[in-house]
């Protein structure tokens, strides 16, 4: 392990320096141009705003992360299931796939009000919006993986007189795992974005307000420093969700990684 330490430092030091540089530039620019706090708070001001009362922020993070993960899980399950159904029949794929595309094309912001009508304000609508945003990449990638394989293997399964379900379960699905994981990673990145957008429209305030709602609340009272805290924390939540999924997929992919 010790011989990998320089590699680790070499990899992590430059981005840390770059972030530190950006923060320094931000502080400098604010001072040099005399920008007011409600336009651009100082880095220290943002930190102070967080430290003054960290608990609501951390609760918000937790709320947003939970919604994002739930939406992601929903999209993953529904996406893999839908893609499997589509892959079983060309005719079904031809008719239903354009519909899923349409789903992808309609902006979430346009659908979100409907979610409020159907599901009311609060978590279910937020989770649904995270799921909607994450769904398409899961379907598209899973379908690609389920479709693409060596035709020789289909022939092998035909010789062994495997039924459709057996071909799906023992050949198509395991063969599609790398593609599915690619789709899940993209979905994980989108889930947090979908959650925050959903919270803007359908989020509930109060004691356990999620980050999206906190942003709006801070905005209305011109607490730009608090907006900044929420924005930075949203990014952190996004990283955490994406990182968690990436880590899980790496563990899951062991067999497939070794093969490639």
């Amino acid at each position: 392990m010790s011989d990998r330490t320089p590699g680790f430092v070499a990899r992590t030091l430059p981005p840390i320096l770059a972030i530190a540089g950006a923060v320094a530039l931000w502080a400098l620019a604010k001072r040099a141009f005399g920008i007011q706090d409600f336009m651009l708070p100082s880095p220290k001001g943002v930190l102070d705003a967080f430290l003054a009362d960290p608990l609501p922020f951390l609760t918000g993070c937790l709320e947003t992360a939970t919604s994002a993960l739930a939406g992601f899980a929903l999209a993953a399950a529904a996406g893999i299931l839908l893609a499997s159904l589509l892959s079983l029949s060309r005719a079904v794929e031809r008719s239903v796939y354009p519909l899923t595309l349409l789903f992808q094309m309609v902006p979430l912001i346009a659908i979100a009000p409907l979610l409020v009508i159907w599901l009311g304000y609060g978590r279910p609508a937020v989770v649904a919006s995270a799921a909607i945003v994450s769904l398409f990449p899961v379907i598209a990638n899973a379908l690609h993986g389920l479709r693409t394989r060596d035709p020789g293997l289909d022939e092998l399964f035909a010789v062994l007189r495997a039924g459709r379900l057996a071909v799906w379960w023992k050949l198509a699905l395991p063969g599609a795992v790398p593609s599915i994981v690619t789709g899940l990673r993209i979905a994980a990145g989108l889930a947090t974005i979908g959650t925050i957008s959903g919270e803007f429209i359908a989020g509930e305030g109060g004691q356990r307000a999620p980050l999206g709602v906190m942003i709006l609340t801070a905005l209305r009272s011109f607490q730009t420093d608090r907006v900044f805290v929420c924005v930075l924390l949203s990014a952190l939540v996004g990283f955490a969700v994406f990182g968690g999924v990436a880590l899980a997929s790496r563990l899951l992919l062991g067999r497939w990684m070794r093969a490639s």
């Binding site: 399964f157 010789v159 062994l160 067999r255 093969a259």
Partner: protein, 252 residues
């Protein structure tokens, strides 16, 4: 004896033809193979012998004529090993049993046995990409034999391997057949391989495949030394002459 009436024939093809669109791949082939025999099908590339083998394996059906196969399963060995990359060798070899619904303990025992048969016991926990081409092909043979089929159909199984490995596997395959005595049919491009492995070499014309010669191979024991045996050479020459004559005639 009238072919098709004798039940000892494991394979019985009568006037079998196969047409793909406007192209005739196989034309009026009569061929019978007794149970436990080893037959090699040779001929110019693209002549339709693989099509014939696929029909024997049930992967394709004749356009005309009748093809009968005695009861029992067929194991099929393709040109490539076709192993599933995410499965260990043991799991790969057990696949046919798994699809047939054999329970796990028995699957394991029989796959272990099949791997021992092709001398791959040490590699059973490894993944296909960790193995040499020869080992992968041996695993593929183990998979074809794991369900103890009555038939083993081989479609140029060793053509992608180097000469040394190929000869080695030929010796092993022949020994395996002498021990297990399934009915074997192999399609190959290599005349010496055909003569070495089989009891009988059936030579086909260029497409559409017609039988132009049916030659019995020497009865000599098949060890490494048989590769340089003059009897093998003579048989190879006879089969090659028949094939070259058929090619020359097709060009005329």
């Amino acid at each position: 004896m009238e072919p098709g009436t004798d039940t000892t024939y494991a394979l019985d093809l009568r006037a079998v033809s196969r047409v793909f669109g406007a192209v005739a791949a196989v034309e009026a082939v009569d061929l019978t193979a007794p149970a436990r025999s080893f037959t090699a099908l040779v001929g110019p590339s693209g002549c339709g012998k693989t099509t014939l083998l696929r029909m024997m394996g049930g992967l394709d059906a004749p356009s005309a004529g009748t093809l009968r196969r005695a009861r029992g399963d067929a194991g099929f060995c393709f040109q490539e090993p076709r192993l599933l990359p995410w499965r260990t060798l043991l799991e790969n070899v057990a696949l046919p049993l798994e699809l047939a619904g054999v329970d796990k303990a028995e699957r394991r025992a029989r796959a272990t046995e099949a791997l021992a048969m092709v001398r791959l016991s040490d590699a059973q926990a490894r993944y296909p990409h960790q193995l040499s081409g020869g080992m992968r092909m041996r695993a593929s043979i183990a998979r074809a034999l794991v369900a103890r089929p009555q038939f083993l159909l081989l479609d140029e199984p060793f053509s992608a391997l180097d000469e040394v490995t190929r000869h080695e596997l030929d010796v092993e395959l022949r020994a395996l057949w002498e021990r297990e005595r399934f009915t074997a049919v192999i399609v190959t491009h290599s005349m010496p391989e055909a003569v070495f492995l089989a009891e009988r070499v059936v030579v086909f014309s260029p497409r559409p495949a017609r039988i132009v010669a049916d030659i019995a191979t020497p009865a000599a024991p098949r060890g490494d030394r048989f590769w340089t045996d003059p009897a093998l050479g003579a048989c190879v020459r006879a089969a090659s002459d028949a094939m070259l004559a058929a090619i020359a005639e097709a060009r005329r």
